[in-house]
Amino acid sequence: MSKIFEKLKVLADAAKYDASCASSGSKRFNQNKGLGNAEGMGICHSYTEDGRCVSLLKILFTNHCIYDCAYCVSRRSNDVRRAAFTVEEVVDLTINFYRRNYIEGLFLSSGIFKNPDYTMERLVRVAKQLRLNHNFHGYIHLKAIPGASPELLKEAGLYADRLSVNIELPSETSLQKVAPEKQYRDILGPMNYLKEEKEERSDHRPQRSKTQLFLPAGQSTQMIVGASPESDYQVLRLADSLYQRQKLKRVYYSGYIPIATDNRVPALKAPPLIRENRVYQADWLMRFYQFSVDEIVNEATPNLDLDIDPKLSYALRNRHLFPVDINQADYEMILRIPGVGVKSAQKIVSSRIYQKLNIDHLQRIGVVMKRARYFIKCPGLYNANSDISSKDLRSLILSGEQQNSLQLALFS
């Protein structure tokens, strides 16, 4: 038993740099009084001290690896403790953690040992045992090992809710530099194959038959930000094309954590967490706020402003579109107001039928007025700063927020 403690420490530690933790979006629900249910929203069961969500048992099957990717702790040339689980051990941990409500399911990745197929086959066996021997309906996310055969990927898709292949670097040149054994072809290939397989099945499947789920939660990938010279424009354009062409459900961004003492990657003092956060906000704008990439970053402004969020930045660059009339404007334009989230935008549109909305109504609805006030028109709001330049407005907003946080610090 003591061995399992050791293995879990090593293989959880090695898996923690993968940013993906989502467990939502599947359509798998409990059948025949089995164990688990993965329909609907995923749940974060805990949060680590770095504030990240713990939703799945996220481990590597093994951290032995024949490859040598510079950004990775498990790379062949790195001197770390190595370990490998057995299929039964992973199954047992998953079931027992799940029964205690610690987790939503399993996220199993792996270093590549022997060869891609040998590794992929182990991962598939874990998923298959959970589903078939334990009647398990919790969430399973498997890593699709680059270079694994289509047959194995197809089998994985039958048991897993989600598969992911990490693209890791935002350009092929950078990938080649840090991961000489990997090529975009080996990454995009499986993505395309799985996308096609899923589409074909949903075309041919009789309506609403639940027996043959295939990757109900789709595919995701991860991109490392800050380990290579690409701009945010390149990062987001690639993400956009992965959403459009490979039909990915999620792209995760991981601020590069200088773990690897390897001269192929930069020696950063601290991970670029603010940049990572801004890239996530931009991704959010593309997926939920109907922004196109070029509206957020473009040739002229290729990088996100680190001091302000991309929505505010857009508004400051496009002052001619503001102020927006709360009582008249389309939903799409309401969504673009800094300080108005998706929920508030919906509430504005549904409430303005009953009365003309004034500033009190907006406060009740939950609009962040200290942000929105410069960009809207509504009764009760006098805007003294309407002809101030964007540059001055930017510093006005920034200084206001600094003052606020100063006050909070003084009074708390």
Binding site: F5, F29, N30, T48, N96, R99, R100, S351, R364
Partner: protein, 250 residues
């Protein structure tokens, strides 16, 4: 203007609303008998709970709101927020006077109602996350204790039934001193005198082992370079640590 007093049940509150409408009066306050002893009010008007009247009020609400209202009001009630009773009364009065205003977030009572709904929704979600079962030694039974800030037990059972259809479990609310027991067939509400509770003995060696594995796992996935205590505490406020296997001191 009068103070209305009820027995603390949802049906009791609905009966108060019925009576107040009957008397054409707006209550000054509505309080549960639990608090009456606090001595303030000899003059309170005590309403006896009447399930049929309560049912009529609910149907009246749903008729005006496309069946959305009764659930919202139930959630507000369970949220146990200050002033929930009076907000419910005013919301119902607004519904009767003005028709379906539930989509008008500019209305102060609607805004308040959704705030309370959000509050309890968040607590339900937290409990979906923070329940930590322990396997009871020598029994095929899992047991968890929670200390939610709202009365969420009536709302969380279904989620756990779906998830743990093949194991018996009890979730115990240590603040309100009652629990749900799932016996593989259905959920039953249980009180502190339920015989089953006496059978819950110390955990086993095997149980300790899985708990330790979980604690180890939790500590291993932390990334030190990204330490962010503020965010950690925002997601996992200290008041919940007591029953979280990975956070309480062992």
């Amino acid at each position: 203007m009068a103070t209305y007093c009820y027995d603390g049940s949802f049906e009791g509150l609905l009966t108060v609303i019925f009576r107040a409408f009957e008397h054409r009066s707006i209550p000054e306050q509505i309080i549960s008998t639990e608090y009456k002893q606090l001595g303030l009010l000899a003059s309170a008007f005590t309403v006896n709970t009447d399930e049929l009247l309560a049912e009529r009020v609910l149907r009246g609400i749903d008729k005006r709101t496309d069946n959305r209202g009764s659930r919202l009001i139930y959630h507000m009630f369970l949220s146990e927020q200050d002033g929930a009773e009076m907000t419910i009364f005013h919301l119902v009065k607004n519904l009767v006077d003005k028709g379906d205003i539930l989509s008008n977030f500019g209305n102060p009572y609607v805004a308040k109602a959704y705030q309370m709904d959000k509050m309890i929704g968040r607590e339900v979600h937290r409990m979906h996350a923070f329940v930590r079962f322990q396997k009871v030694a020598d029994a095929d039974m899992y047991f968890a204790i929670i200390n939610p800030s709202c009365n969420v037990l009536p709302l969380i059972g279904e989620h756990f039934v779906k998830r743990y259809a093949d194991q018996k479990w009890i979730i115990w609310d240590a603040v309100r001193n009652y629990g749900i027991y799932y016996d593989l067939q259905r959920e039953i509400f249980i009180e502190p005198d339920h015989p089953l509770l006496k059978t819950l003995v110390e955990s086993s060696k095997q149980e300790d082992c899985y708990q330790q594995l979980w604690v180890d796992y939790f500590n291993s996935v932390n990334i030190r370079e990204r330490k962010n205590t503020k965010l950690h505490l925002r997601h996992m406020p200290k008041r919940y640590w007591r029953y979280l296997t990975e956070k309480h001191s062992r």
